[in-house]
């Protein structure tokens, strides 16, 4: 138990799921202590959606995320509240906030948390390190924890009573970072969030030419082609094909992962698919923990043989 504070995230007037997921877990962990949420700008009007919070602390200001201004506002609120545990998303926005809070408050920062428990006079955290290949447990009496999306139930964050909605005033942050504009993704030829079947390729594919092998398999199966982040960074497939944290969340009937190791960032986008088939030569690859079916043979042989037998 203890006092827990959740730094919420929003985009285009909606709370991100991660905010509700963290709040739900905070409610369970607070167990007699208080559970508060910081919201920014116009999200005050949506405070009632945060059912699990005792208090919703509303920071006035711009709705557009600003790394400097949001971190500085969160810091000021946390200095005033001095909670035992601060939860921040292990997300693009959270990365601009949590490490700054930790240093400025002299609190430990715990990254990539997929589990948090009460333990003695503090908390025990489970962090997914080395691309999900190791679970590291650590303990601290007070901390700023960065929570991986999808680790806890969002529904838990909505349920509960009605929170006290309070305005908090914070000083003006310095304005060394200025928001300019949101940039929408380029329209894609194929919307992979609507696909029935996806053939997804990862780093194991090796080279751009080898994408053709996967493309042929996709055509044979009437599937669309998707991929993990390294394939986009290498320039082999467009961003619109990317599944995962900085890409898209997909829900086809069948997801065939070829040469994808299954880093937490990728799993975030596909782990709830009802049938996942993974092909990876590394039998310890984390993808096999979320997959329903697996094979460790060479993916090129497999693609070719499937092509031959269909």
């Amino acid at each position: 138990m203890g006092n827990i504070l959740v730094v919420t995230e929003h985009m285009k007037g909606e709370f991100q799921d991660i905010s509700l997921e963290m709040l739900g877990r905070a409610r369970q962990l607070a167990n007699g202590g208080s559970c508060s949420a910081i919201v920014f700008g116009g999200m005050k009007d949506r405070a009632s959606e945060l059912g699990a919070a005792d208090r919703v602390l509303c920071v006035e200001g711009n709705d557009d995320f600003n790394p400097e201004a949001y971190a500085s506002a969160a810091l000021e609120v946390i200095q005033a509240e001095s909670p035992d545990l601060v939860l921040v998303g292990s997300t693009s926005m959270g990365m601009d906030i949590a490490p700054v809070l930790g240093v400025s408050m002299d609190l430990p920062v715990i990254s990539y948390c997929s589990g948090i428990e009460n333990s003695g006079d503090g908390y025990e955290f489970t962090s997914q390190l080395y691309g999900g290949k190791m679970d590291v447990k650590s303990s601290a009496s007070k901390a700023v924890a960065m929570v991986l999306a999808g680790s806890f139930s969002a529904d838990e964050g909505k349920s509960g009573g009605s929170a006290n909605v309070e305005d908090v005033s914070v000083g003006a942050s310095s304005s060394r970072v200025q928001f300019k504009e949101l940039i929408e993704p380029e329209a894609a030829d194929v919307d992979i969030t609507q696909s029935d079947i996806l053939v997804a390729v990862g780093r194991g594919i090796g080279s751009k030419d080898d994408i053709e092998v996967a493309q042929e398999l996709a055509e044979t199966l009437n599937a669309d082609l998707a991929c993990s982040r390294p394939v986009v960074d290498a320039g082999w497939l467009p961003k619109s094909c990317q599944v995962g944290k900085s890409g898209l969340k997909v829900n086809p009937k069948v997801y065939i992962a070829l040469g994808i190791s299954g880093a937490p960032e990728h799993l975030e986008g596909m782990k709830d698919v009802s049938t996942i088939i993974a092909v990876n030569t590394d039998k310890n690859a984390p993808i096999f923990d979320v997959a329903h079916y697996g094979m460790t043979d060479d993916l090129f042989d497999i693609c070719e043989e499937i092509g031959d037998s269909l």
């Binding site: 650590s138 900085s246 088939i277 590394d282 079916y293």
Partner: protein, 247 residues
């Protein structure tokens, strides 16, 4: 504009990872190290800025460790003008490393670029922690940097391809997610040539290790949650695809 690119060697995840006898850390005796892939992108974006005439000098900086000289010479072969190796004690873990860099980096650099994260930064991402210590701004998950009048303009990625553009006053720290183009490759011959013609500067210091810490209690591969049913042959796979209505 002078740029510092902070580089770090991390365990190669293509290798089998094992826990050491303490049960709390990786057994590093037999594992291979490679440059943090996000740091490769940070270096690439920095070199692109220089090639575009928007930066005057790129310095690659790394803490001493496994195969660091090779990483720094490779960085020079890819276009960094200088390389600096920081030696000394008290730089273990991302939090201490940030404190170490904050001691070592003087105000010479306008822009400090590093990978947005690494597979082992359990104690927080190094870039934003460093920015808080230096009291300068930081933007993470950056995929594009361009020169501006009093600083830089960056694109930060959120999710689903959605991004935002920010103007950032320098000095600043940027956590790079991806460079504007695929990181270039430096042929071994070029790295060798650099090794013979250039040298790595060294700076030694003692880091501060008194920041707030969490205590690691255990490290282990994730508990298998049922996991995948392994298929023995492509025939089985084809049967499965037919059963699921895919083939």
């Amino acid at each position: 504009m002078k740029i510092a690119v902070l580089l770090k060697q991390v365990p190669d995840l293509a290798e089998e990872l094992e826990v050491d006898d303490s049960g709390k850390a990786l057994d590093t005796e037999y594992i291979k190290f490679r440059l943090n892939e996000y740091d490769e992108h940070a270096l690439e974006e920095a070199v692109c800025l220089k090639e575009a005439g928007e930066a005057s000098e790129v310095t690659a900086i790394a803490l001493d460790g496994e195969e660091v000289d090779k990483a720094l010479f490779t960085a020079m072969a890819k276009g960094a003008d200088k390389a600096l190796k920081l030696t000394g004690t008290g730089a273990e873990g991302s939090r201490n490393a940030a404190a170490f860099f904050s001691e070592a980096l003087d105000s010479e650099y306008d822009l400090i670029m590093t990978g947005v994260q690494s597979v082992d930064d359990r104690e927080g991402m190094m870039g934003p922690m460093l920015s808080a210590m230096l009291k300068i701004p930081c933007v993470s998950v950056v995929t594009r940097v361009d020169g501006g009048s009093s600083g830089v303009t960056v694109k930060k990625e959120y999710f689903g391809g959605l991004m935002a553009a920010f103007d950032v006053q320098t000095p600043a720290v940027l956590g790079i997610q991806a460079a504007r183009q695929t990181p270039r490759y430096a042929p071994v011959s070029k790295v060798r040539q650099i090794q013979q013609s250039a040298s790595i500067e060294e700076k030694s210091l003692i880091g501060s290790t008194d920041s707030a810490r969490s205590e690691v209690t255990s490290m282990a591969p994730p508990v298998k949650t049922g996991g995948a049913k392994m298929l023995g042959s492509v025939d089985e796979l084809v049967e499965l695809l037919k059963e699921k209505g895919v083939a």
